[in-house]
């Protein structure tokens, strides 16, 4: 299945990650480490440019996930990914954005594209978003997109602050298509 390459308007776009993204991606992750690592478990695993390279080598060829860079004027601004499911029953979206790119609706726009792709190309029946309960910006994206809160998995992710409850949101294909 092909990854997405699409314009988000205002000089922003999403496109598949490339191995050449390693240095700018590492620079952004490292600069945003404290802010993003407060909510997302993977940040603790990226401790060097070499870790970032290894992750890119893995994700750019993975059949299990489709990860994309969010770029603004050609610079890496964040990321959005789709975790696939062999049965196409339940896919998951995850995203993050550098602080100076926040507040322009980039993640919401990128999510709309990835959701359309998930339902149209993968024939997903459901897409899940899981966000730390205190991550209000992330949760607002899910709620704005019409996701329904299905439950809260207690202490089910590990962040820099320790264990955190995860709010689990879902949207079904018929709900997306009706929206």
């Amino acid at each position: 299945m092909t990854r997405l390459e699409a314009d988000l308007g205002g000089g922003a776009a999403i496109r598949p990650y490339r191995l050449e993204d390693a240095e700018p991606l590492w620079a952004l992750v490292d600069a945003e480490r404290e802010r993003v690592g407060r909510w997302l478990a993977w940040v603790r695993l990226i401790r060097s440019l070499e870790d970032e390279r290894r992750w890119l080598e893995h994700t750019t060829v993975s059949d299990a996930e489709e990860n994309h860079a969010i770029v603004v004027d050609g610079d890496v601004a964040g990321g959005i990914g789709l975790i696939l499911d062999p049965l196409d029953a339940n896919l998951e979206i995850g995203y993050w954005l550098g602080s100076r790119f926040e507040g322009r609706g980039l993640v919401t726009s990128a999510c709309r594209l990835v959701l359309s792709h998930a339902f149209a190309e993968h024939q997903a029946h459901r897409v899940t978003i899981a966000a730390a309960v205190g991550n209000t910006r992330s949760r607002a994206v899910a709620e704005r997109l019409g996701f329904v809160l299905d439950g809260v998995a207690r202490e089910s992710t590990r962040t820099d602050d320790g264990f955190s409850d995860l709010a689990i949101y879902g949207i079904l294909d018929r709900e997306w298509n009706a929206a």
Binding site: A41, W42, R44, L45, L87, A89, N90, H125, R126, T128, V148, D150, G151, V152, A153, R154, E155, S156, T157, R158, F163, I168, G170, L172
Partner: protein, 175 residues
Amino acid sequence: VTRPFLDVGDGLAIHRLEPSDAEALQVVIERNRERLMRWMAWAQGSTVDTTRGFIAQNGDGLDPLGLIADGALVGTIGARPEPMRGDAEIGYWIDERTEGRGIVTRACRALILHLLDDLDLHRVTIRAAPDNARSRAIAERLGFTQEGVLREAGWSSPGYHDLVVYGLLDREWPR
């Protein structure tokens, strides 16, 4: 061919499976296929080849492991640890002939202890369809807390179904 992994006691053990165990496991799957199909996506198309493949892809992982009661393979249990999140999901099924003896519950206790103590995980998750009463009863008997219902997140041969999510934290496990 199976190799002992966790001794549960009282004639029950959890074993590691080898691809050469596929034939023996498939015999149990075949006579339970109809009831497994109701809950598990893999059961409908299960053949000795898919079962061998499932065992082979596990490698040194924990899914699937064999349930061995009085020397006989009677089902499987499995765990998928996610160390990054400190969580592992467990799943299980057992031959109808050996149901009702508490085998799965006891095996789950041994596996959960391994996950929390040996692998140092923080939490264990069980997901079950709302009307899979036996599976849910195991989670509840083990002290798991119901945390939500993922709408239509599961698929089995009758179609999509909801999944009830249960969680248990390390500090909640009786020791």
